[in-house]
Symmetry: D2
């Protein structure tokens, strides 16, 4: 993540008209390693104590790519110190921490200090276009959504135990790691919020080789949920890290009364759109190659048909964050948006523990 | 369905070496209409009273395409009269009827009288190949399955009320109509049976125009479920008749420890196979065009690359039924297989009524 | 071909309202074999002498599926005897024979005797829809066309010598066999005719095992051409029987000033349409699943989304032929259309022999 | 191009272990504009006189993105001054200039001065993988290749006249602009060279609006060619800037005796591979998502399934160029490779002028 964020900071100014800034300090735990990384990734200095850096007057922005367990502490401190904060998703590892971060963000906002959580896929041009088509009414009333995030890097049951497979260190498995993206997209694309959840978790490979013998896997390999949205739509969510052959397939389908959309992150430059208003004889899912200057973010890059890669959406994220900071407005998604996703994740876990029974979410 | 089955009876002998038979009597309610249909579809006679036809000595086989509410009565009578019976899916409209049919089939079997339920998609060559690859171990241990059946013919909320949208006449909505196919495929492909279910039903358009004003829709427009299989796999099922742009999309994905498969009934001649045993650099989902003589059923038809249509799987069904009858063996899927699907459907309804709580299925 | 045509005759009346007819006589060389085939494929009688059959008063229609070398003799005799004639493509093996057939068809036409050549792919619903979209102006001015027909059944250089690989028996290789379809489609879809040709032929495997040792392959394995059309468009044609992995890929792309189309016979129920009149942000190739009742020929078959197979276009061909005969109009494509294709094939051979130099076609 | 190359220079060191270097001087014609661009794209200085810059001792490398007409003059001077030279494709605007550049490169090479031409698509990981599969024999003997480069930005016949549409300023149209890429790929992928050519050029829109009324378009809108390769393969090439709906579709298909490949630059992270050695029942084109660490260049970037964009292949180009310079070896493609492409382009023009007659290429 540090590599991806550094890349975005290094390049945002070459493509977008953003307020001037300098890549000041990269912070990490190992002094030698972080110094090398700073040199490689374009940072002027490196440091090992984030508190010292936050205390500096010449620092205006803090971009937090540290492990989730540190998010709350750093973000709350940085906001208190008057620094604008961008924090990677998930907002925090627990609902309690997330609530504390939202409270800090709200106080900071009153003082003109900005905060943002990094659900970067909102800045994939095809998904930004999807949001724009839905928001513009091209799909009519949304009935249902299918959201899946399928990966396969845990397929081999002989691959070793890691911290990501222990509940105490990782919080959850596929659920927190990738379902969070799917759930944020559902709420982002529909401009709506989840009110009710039924969930299920499953661990297919319950034991993996550790250094001293087999160890128990204590997080989920896959998760399923259905979500009710306030506006009446129903979304299904399915995530797995054992979907052999699917490498990074965040797949979203949105079905409305007038039109439908389809997206797959393995082909991030394409959006499929079915326009139910076309003449019946000519209806069909269109593959929109989202590389026209008219498409979101695209004009800054290359000529039509010249596709973007995974990292470019981070550049868009930095651009939008900088523009908001520069213009004194609140960037999006907010910490509240990050909290909303975590409430849904928590409700899925709660439902799974209660034999998949529907769980109502408290209103925001 | 009568048209599709007639087509299969009319053509099975031209492509496959099956026992000789004659298309004797087409039975229907309206004498004039059924006489015209008989002439058009190749039946020697027509009739309006199925009891009389079943009583005839020159009738050996009864193929039941009547509405589901009549399946049990006709099938039980026909089996009692010593006729081999093929009945369209779903086996019956209620579990009680389905149990009675299974009992009748078991008794008849002892007397050499055969019975079969028409889950015709088992005979799509690509799905028969899928079963063969899974059965042969090419996928390793199956972890999870994604099964969806998406149609869109109810998208328009102004389309009128019909008997299919009333619980008393249709039993259920998308659930019984199309989820039944998806569930049968899960059990067929994995050679396994469902043990536990969580389900959810939803009606998006709750009222539709009737002749005398709006009427309440009392069946589901869409359904979601997760299924546990005895062998340890988990399957998700999602069906809708409001998935705008999806016309007849029975989509199945099977993820195993060594390989994966993908199928979509809108492209029924293709099976996608990911072989995890290929060298990593060369791995990818292969589009197998299932039109080689080596593929199931295909040698009887056309040269490679010349695709089959939707109706051909019925021809395969008649072929397999005739071969079983001719050789004195039991065709598959049996009435028991049909009952197994209905138990799952009933459990989904039960779970949906109980806030999606997991429901255990009694053992077969 | 006899199997495919018989299938169409056997089923046309079950799906379409066509004039009544009877499947009378199947003619072949081997009495026993043809009798068996007649029984299997639904013909009342069989015979071995086509002249005797043509002389019968109870025969009104002659459908010629014999090898190309016999087309002219049978067709001319049948037309002279006042029989309506349907002849499989290619019209004949030589330009001379084709010219004679056209002359016979013209004379017969004056006496109300109908004739048709079987370029069956004109009746694939997706291609009929393509013609309709082009004819209706949806593509604007057509600039260029890419037509390819790719198969792979000759890939293995160890597969044995056959009559199809000798010039004296087969006339040509991929050129006459499959380029003929591609060329007919170009002229059909554009409603235009070829005026100029540059061509190239190549034999990759020049020797194959015969019963007594290696034999020379004397026809082309692949062919390439560019065609000028009278209306200003340019078409490329590329055909091969060594395109490993392509099984029956008649691929056509048509690019116009307002829209474009794409088709592949391996997915015959799909037509891809790019509408340049859509808003730029929403433009993209649409996959039209050509299975709606509004699409050509489709209403007679199954509900939407239930796809057709390769054989169904022959049923459409028989339907259109019978309707034309019944209504006293000329069916299409005519023998003249068949001749037009052969003139292009001959010009490609002539160009190939002249180092690919452009050859002008005499006007029709 | 300057933007794409600058991006690559700015980022190469962050992802790859390359010799240290500094982004020194950006040269352009307009002092203010080039100063602004230098600041934006990460160059320390800017200048307007390339001769002065070449004369500086602190400059080791010259990367030429100037218009084609200037390539020869700058490259020859830079090589003479002992600078390593990278020049964008096409090598030059005329065969004479290209020959001069090759001569200069050969002399420089003897003094340890390196040169390279920027056919960047050789560094798309999927195409590098394709080359590796072909080179490793996975396709067997290559029979034929289909190469197309389709764009649509000239579709509108009302779009205005530009220097790109005049022969004197642009040299040629689609031929030099995009066929050059297709031809380089054919020679690169097969490791072979073209010996014979038949070509055709066409201008569909012969007049376009200029500031003072209609002006004649004097370059081709589309081009077609067939190429013979020394090793026995035949390649077709088809390019157009009026293929409505195709945005940047460099499409390549390679058919061999054992396997086949397919690629489309609009989905640059995918390579389709048909392995004829798979069991027949399981054969099919595989979509290899070329994002595994085992794939060329990929390990330096992101985790599997996280795709690259169009610009990344330039980063690969800079990396390979720097590694060659650093290790004292010759980078590839060489100026000789660039000349080879231009000889083919010239032969296509010659053939087109001679009614498409086959033209023999002199041996390299």
């Amino acid at each position: 993540m540090g590599k991806a964020h550094s890349n975005a900071w290094r390049n945002a100014g070459a493509f977008f008209d953003v307020p001037a800034f300098t890549q000041k300090v990269l912070v990490g735990r190992d002094a030698a390693a972080v110094a090398a990384a700073a040199a490689r990734y374009g940072w002027a200095e490196s440091a090992t104590d984030w508190r010292e850096v936050i205390a500096r007057d010449d620092i205006d922005i803090v971009d937090i790519c540290a492990p989730g367990a540190l998010h709350a502490e750093i973000a709350v401190a940085a906001l208190a110190a008057g620094k604008h904060v961008l924090v990677e998703k998930p907002l925090a590892n627990s609902l309690g921490e997330a609530n504390a971060m939202v409270a800090a963000a709200q106080q900071a906002r009153d003082r003109g200090v900005r905060s943002m959580v990094g659900f970067t896929y909102r800045r994939v041009p095809a998904l930004a276009l999807a949001r724009s088509l839905i928001g513009g009414g091209k799909l009519g009333v949304i009935r249902h959504v299918r959201a899946a995030y399928l990966q396969d890097w845990l397929t081999d049951d002989g691959s070793p135990m890691t911290w990501r497979l222990r509940r105490e260190s990782a919080g959850s498995g596929a659920l927190g790691d990738i379902a969070s993206h799917a759930i944020d997209q559902v709420q982002f694309l529909l401009g709506d919020s989840v009110t009710e959840v039924s969930g299920r978790l499953h661990t297919f490979v319950t034991e993996r080789p550790g250094p001293h013998g087999p160890e128990a896997v204590t997080v989920d390999d896959a998760a399923w949920a259905t979500l009710s949205l306030a506006g009446g739509a129903v979304a299904s969510v399915e995530v797995s890290r054992m979907a052999l052959g699917r490498k990074n397939a965040l797949q979203i389908e949105v079905f409305g009364s007038k039109g439908s959309l389809r997206f797959d992150l393995e082909n991030p430059n394409e959006l499929y759109f079915f326009d139910g208003m076309d003449p019946i004889k000519e209806q069909g899912f269109r593959r929109i190659l989202v590389t026209e200057p008219e498409h979101p973010y695209v004009a800054a890059w290359w000529p039509q048909g010249h596709v973007l890669g995974w990292e470019n959406s981070f550049t868009h994220e930095i651009r939008d964050f900088l523009l908001a900071v520069g213009s004194g407005t609140d960037p999006s998604p907010s910490f509240e948006d990050g909290l909303a996703v975590q409430r849904v994740l928590a409700a899925i876990e709660e439902s799974a523990a209660a034999k998949s029974s529907l769980i109502q979410l408290a209103q925001r």
